[in-house]
């Protein structure tokens, strides 16, 4: 399997084409923006929360298949989780795509993105939504 085939799996392309949780929430507790300065792609995370648990989460923005599918699967995964669970997932995801560690089972479909760790220039695409989420959690907690 070529790196390209490893990366652009069907799961990823389906999420990229029809992302879940796409669009602004009506009354988000916080909004957080992420920029990929290397390509100009941008994402906004909308979070509804009491400061401890993610009641609802969505995203908006545009970007490549990697960043869109990552945001789509991430929002699916963290919805309803406690902040500490979400932080643990952020950590696991980054270990997988940044450091190239083995994919943790709790990442579910997101494990399809493991190949990104071999294509350094795309790591920022995969982590764009996650960094914005991390930021949003901090802001929600300080509210």
């Amino acid at each position: 399997m070529s790196l390209l085939e490893e990366l652009y799996r069907e799961t990823i392309m389906i999420h990229a084409q029809k992302p879940h949780n796409f669009g602004a929430l009506a009354n988000p507790t916080v909004e957080s923006r992420g920029h990929n300065t290397s390509c100009g792609d941008m994402i906004t995370i909308y979070l509804q929360s009491d400061g401890e648990r993610i009641a609802d989460v969505s995203f908006q923005g545009q970007g490549c298949a990697i960043s869109q599918s990552s945001a789509s699967m991430m929002t699916d995964l963290v919805k309803g989780r406690s902040f500490s669970e979400a932080r643990e997932l952020i950590k696991k995801f980054k270990e997988m795509v940044v450091e190239g560690k083995e994919a943790a089972p709790e990442l579910g479909d997101l494990r399809a993105l493991a190949g990104v760790s071999k294509l350094h220039s795309r790591v920022k695409c995969a982590t764009l939504a996650w960094n914005a989420l991390e930021q949003a959690l901090v802001e929600a907690q300080n509210k």
Binding site: S2, L3, L4, L7, Y8, M13, A16, Q17, S38, C39, G40, D41, Q62, G63, C64, A65, I66, L119, S121, R122, C125
Partner: protein, 405 residues
């Protein structure tokens, strides 16, 4: 015409990366052995700080540095004392905006730019506009990718104090009619600042014929090292320009309270310059002059025409930029609805290096109606075979992503 296949041999990067098709010279070019060795040789034989030494080594370093200034003057058809060494075109443009602008711009003044400017010729003026209260206007470009000359004529007024434009667009490839527009702007009393970052590497340039006050270039895009660029200024424009960076080498007399400044170009070269880099850039200019800039331009043009012809074979490929003689070797494109980042990764897997993103030209892309594009750009070492490889890789990528486009 150039023998690009033979020239590849002058560039060690190709021997060390067999199969590499490098199509990103508009971002930064590769370096010939002559440039790399000029730098090593300097460090191994002659290095010392320049200008201030009273010993043989420092004399040799100074002589080498000033020789580089003369080489760049020759390359641009200018006088050596009109050549200011800076890091890159970005610094050159900022120098102009800060030194000239902080002194002269007032609220109500207008800065006229174009919508095809690189951020380097946009953001410095924004920072200045915020401090001075001046206002930025930008000449749009047409659907073909050429500046809208009627709009230019309407937007150039007595309030226009600065007119800044790129000689050649780094996305569309458009070569603008600089001399003509500059003459009109200067007639209105505007300072004319030309971004030559793409022009200098690819076009035969005689700065004295451009009717400009300042001209900025980056050495690393014209076979030179990183860390060296040039701000050319008309002698009178430089003479009137207050200093930008303060420090050693640009002063005459210093007391705690105030200083008097050296004449140009020293006035604008505060501190220890990028000596080895200037020397490397001089070697790059010599290399290009030996090829002949007319030949470089013709080579780029021929490859471009060939590429445009062949790329027409790829379905769903949207090409940007004008057709005609006023277009350099840059091709920006999008393939169907595929994001250019995904496309570039696919091309990279086939060994073809192209850039994707906004290429530091967000307003330009906004006008094109897309967020980003992929871009292939050509230079002296690119061959028809490179274009062929790009074509094949594009076709493969299209097949690979077919069901998702």
């Amino acid at each position: 015409m150039l023998d690009a296949q033979a020239l590849k041999g002058d560039f060690p990067i190709f021997a060390n990366n067999p199969g590499l098709v490098f199509l990103d010279s508009a971002a930064s070019s590769q370096k010939p052995r002559a440039v790399i060795e000029a730098i090593s040789r300097y460090y191994e034989h002659d290095h010392a700080n320049v200008h201030r030494g009273a010993y043989a080594l420092s004399e040799r370093a100074t002589e080498a540095y000033e020789t580089a200034r003369r080489q760049m003057a020759r390359f641009l058809g200018a006088q050596p004392d009109e050549i200011v060494f800076v890091r890159n075109a970005t610094e050159a443009l900022n120098l102009t905006a800060y030194a000239w602008g902080l002194e002269h711009l007032r609220s109500g003044d207008e800065i006229l730019l174009t919508e095809m400017e690189h951020h380097a010729n946009l953001v410095p003026w924004q920072l200045l506009a915020r401090r001075s209260g001046a206002r930025i206007r930008a000449v749009p470009f047409t659907k073909e990718g050429r500046l809208d000359l009627d709009a230019f004529a309407a937007m150039l007024t007595d309030r226009t104090r600065v007119f800044g434009l790129t000689q050649m667009s780094n996305v569309l490839g458009t070569v603008n009619p600089v001399a003509e527009l500059a003459a009109a702007a200067r007639e209105r009393g505007a300072l004319v600042v030309v971004d030559g970052a793409q022009g200098a590497p690819h076009l035969p340039v005689r700065v004295s014929e451009l009717n400009a006050d300042f001209y900025a270039l980056s050495g690393h895009k014209m076979l030179g090292p990183t860390g060296a660029g040039v701000l050319w200024g008309r002698r009178e424009a430089l003479a009137d320009l207050p200093p930008f960076l303060g420090g050693g080498n640009m002063i005459e007399e210093v007391t705690i309270e105030r200083s008097s400044y050296a004449p140009p170009p020293q006035r604008f070269e505060a501190g220890t310059p990028a000596i080895a880099e200037a020397i490397g850039l001089g070697a790059a200019a010599d290399y290009l002059m030996a090829l002949g800039m007319e030949n470089v331009w013709e080579h780029d043009r021929a490859l471009l025409e060939y590429a445009l012809e062949r790329l027409a074979e790829v379905p769903d490929l949207h090409l940007y930029g004008p057709r005609g003689e006023d277009r350099g070797g840059v091709v920006a494109f999008n393939l169907g609805s595929l994001h250019p980042h995904d496309l570039a990764s696919a091309l990279d897997q086939a060994g073809v290096a192209v850039r994707s993103g906004h290429h530091c030209a967000q307003p330009l892309h906004r006008r094109l109606g897309v967020a980003a594009s992929a871009r292939a750009s050509f230079y002296v070492y690119n061959t028809r075979e490179d274009v062929e490889r790009l074509l094949q890789a594009l076709k493969e990528a299209r097949r690979f992503f077919a069901s998702w486009m």
